[in-house]
C-alpha cells in the first residue's frame, strides 16, 4: 500500500475515530491530533480516542473541540498492538480499519496497514500524508507533528533521527511551530517531585551482567505524587551510564510492573521484551511483568545476564 493509496482510502470516508495507545506519548498524541485537524480542515469529521488526557499535552488537546457524529472509519496511529489500546481495547479490538505506524513489530489486525519502519516517528508519515489529503500545513498541525517527531527522537538525539526527520523539523519551524515551548514542556521541565524521585533512583540503581546492565525502579509509594507523564523520561537514565549496554526501568503500577528497556550497540531490546509478551524498537522497547518487585527484578537480571 502506498501513502497515496492510504490518502485515497481515507478520502472515501467522512467520519473518523483515531485511536492512540495507552500511556500516551508525544508521537501517538501528535500524530493522531495532526491527522484529525487535517481531516477537519478538508471537511471531514474526526475525533481522537485517548486513554487519558495528561496535562502536558493540553496545548494539543485544546485545539480539537468535541464533534458529534457516528463513526464510520477507524484509524490507529502509532499503535503497534491492539493490547496497547489499554482501556479502549475491548471496544475497538478487531474494528480498526486502517493502521498507520512506524513499528516494525506491528501486529494489529486490520484490513489496511501502512507501516514505515524507517520513520523515526509516526508523525513523519502523517507529515507526508497531509498534502496527499489535500490539507494544508497550519501552525496547530505543525505543533502536533513537531511534538510527535521530537519526542520519539529524544529531541533529535536518538539513532532513529534521519536527515528526513531534520528536514521535516526545519519545515515545521518555518510553519511557525512553537518548538521552544514544546521542548521546554517535553524535555526541560521537571517538577520538584521528579527531582526527588531522580535522586532516589540514582541511589537505588542496580547493576548486573558485569555492569553492562543498569536497572532503576519506582514503587507506587515513590511515584504517588507524580503523574505518568512526569516520570516518562526516567527510562533514559540507566542506558546513559558509561559501559551500560542495556538500561531497564521498572515501574510499579496498580496490578503489574511496566518495564522499559533501552539498549546501546545493537543489543535487541525488542527481542528482549518479546519473551515477556512485549515489543517495540531495536533500541527502545517495553513489556509488563507480574509478581513482587523482587521477583520482577530477579527475572530481569536473569534475562539480562543471558543476553549480555
Amino acid at each position: 500500500m502506498t501513502l497515496k493509496e492510504v490518502a485515497n482510502l481515507i478520502l472515501q470516508h467522512d467520519n473518523f475515530e483515531i485511536l492512540t495507545h495507552h500511556y500516551p506519548d508525544g508521537d501517538c498524541i501528535g500524530s493522531g491530533f495532526a491527522l484529525a485537524l487535517a481531516l477537519r480542515q478538508i471537511g471531514k469529521k474526526a475525533r481522537v480516542i485517548t486513554t487519558d488526557r495528561s496535562k502536558s499535552f493540553e496545548y494539543i488537546f485544546s485545539k480539537l473541540k468535541e464533534q458529534e457524529f457516528d463513526t464510520e472509519f477507524i484509524i490507529a496511529t502509532d499503535v503497534a498492538n491492539e493490547k496497547l489500546l489499554g482501556v479502549n481495547q475491548k471496544a475497538y479490538e478487531g474494528k480498526i480499519d486502517l493502521c498507520i505506524d512506524h513499528h516494525q513489530s506491528n501486529c494489529v489486525n486490520a484490513p489496511f496497514k501502512y507501516i514505515e519502519a524507517d520513520s523515526a516517528a509516526a508523525g513523519e508519515i502523517i507529515y507526508e500524508l497531509i498534502p496527499l489529503l489535500g490539507a494544508k500545513m497550519t501552525r496547530d498541525i505543525a505543533n502536533c507533528i513537531y511534538t510527535a517527531i521530537s519526542t520519539d527522537t529524544g529531541c533529535f538525539r536518538y539513532g532513529n533521527t534521519t536527515s528526513r526527520t531534520m528536514r521535516i523539523a526545519a519545515d515545521l519551524l518555518d510553519f511557525g511551530c512553537d518548538s521552544a515551548y514544546i521542548n521546554k514542556i517535553m524535555f526541560e521541565t521537571k517538577s520538584k517531585g521528579l527531582i526527588r524521585l531522580e535522586r532516589d533512583l540514582l541511589k537505588n540503581m542496580i547493576f548486573c551482567a558485569d555492569d553492562k546492565c543498569a536497572i532503576i525502579y519506582t514503587t507506587l509509594e515513590m511515584t504517588k505524587d507524580l503523574t505518568d507523564d512526569e516520570t516518562e523520561g526516567i527510562a533514559s537514565i540507566p542506558r546513559q551510564i558509561e559501559g551500560v549496554k542495556m538500561g531497564i526501568t521498572v515501574r510499579e503500577k496498580a496490578d503489574n510492573f511496566k518495564i522499559s528497556v533501552r539498549t546501546n550497540d545493537g543489543i535487541d531490546a525488542c527481542e528482549f521484551c518479546r519473551q515477556f509478551g512485549g515489543g517495540g524498537h531495536v533500541s527502545a522497547s517495553g513489556c509488563t511483568l507480574k509478581g513482587t518487585l523482587d521477583e520482577v527484578l530477579q527475572t530481569l537480571k536473569d534475562a539480562a545476564e543471558k543476553v549480555l
Copy 2:
C-alpha cells in the same frame, strides 16, 4: 564584512593558527577543527590552539596531525572575549587577525570581525564559509560541525535552534556524519562518578527568590574524580525545575568559582553575569567569582533576588 569577504581575506594567507576558548566546548572545538581541516584541504597549513585536550573530543583531535610552520594569520572561532583564551591569553592577546563568532557580546580586539548573533553556533558560520573557501564537505568536517551545532543547541533543544540549524544538520547527516556516536558521547554518556555527583547535587539544591531561582554547587572534593567535560552538562539541571526562571551552577575551581547561569522566559543571563565581569547569551551565560563557597552563594542569591 560579508562572509564572502571573510573567505577572500582568508584565501590571501597560507599559515593559520585557530584559537579556541578555555573550558573548550563542542562549538569552539568543532568550529576550529572544521576550519583547519578545510584549510588543509585547499593546500593551506593550519593548527588549532586549545587550552586542553579533553578525552571526549578525541574523535576530532585525532583527525588533525601536527604540522610545522610559521604562523602568519590568527583566527579566533567562538571566542567572545580575549580573557576567554585562558592560559593562551598572554601569548595571543592583541594578535588576533580575524574573529568569527556568534556571540552578540563579542568584544575581541581584532582588525577583522565576522559576528553573526542569530547563528545558533559558530559552526553554522563555518558550514557556510567552507564552500566559499573552495573546500568540500567531508565526513570528518561534517562530524566537527555537527559537534559544534548539536552541543550549542543542546541537541536542537534550545531556543536558538532555527530551521537553518536543522537544515544544516540534515545536510551533515547526508554527508555521513556520525550523529549517533557524537550524540552518545556528548549527551547520553554519564560516568558512574557523574551519576553520584548528580545525586548529591539534587540533594543539596538551594532555592531562593520565591523558588524562581535554583542553585546547585560542586566543591573540589565532589568533583575530584571527574573531568571538566564530564561535569559540563550539570549546568542545565537547575533551570529545568518547574517554576524556576534562573538556574545557577557554581563550580569550585583551584582559585575561584566558575558560575554558569541559565534562564527562562527572557530573564537576561548575560546582563546578570556582566555585573560580575562575565557574559554570553541572553539565556546562557557565565562568570567567575572569588571568595568562600558561602560568600559566593550569598552573592548570587542576593543578585538573583534583585532580578527576579
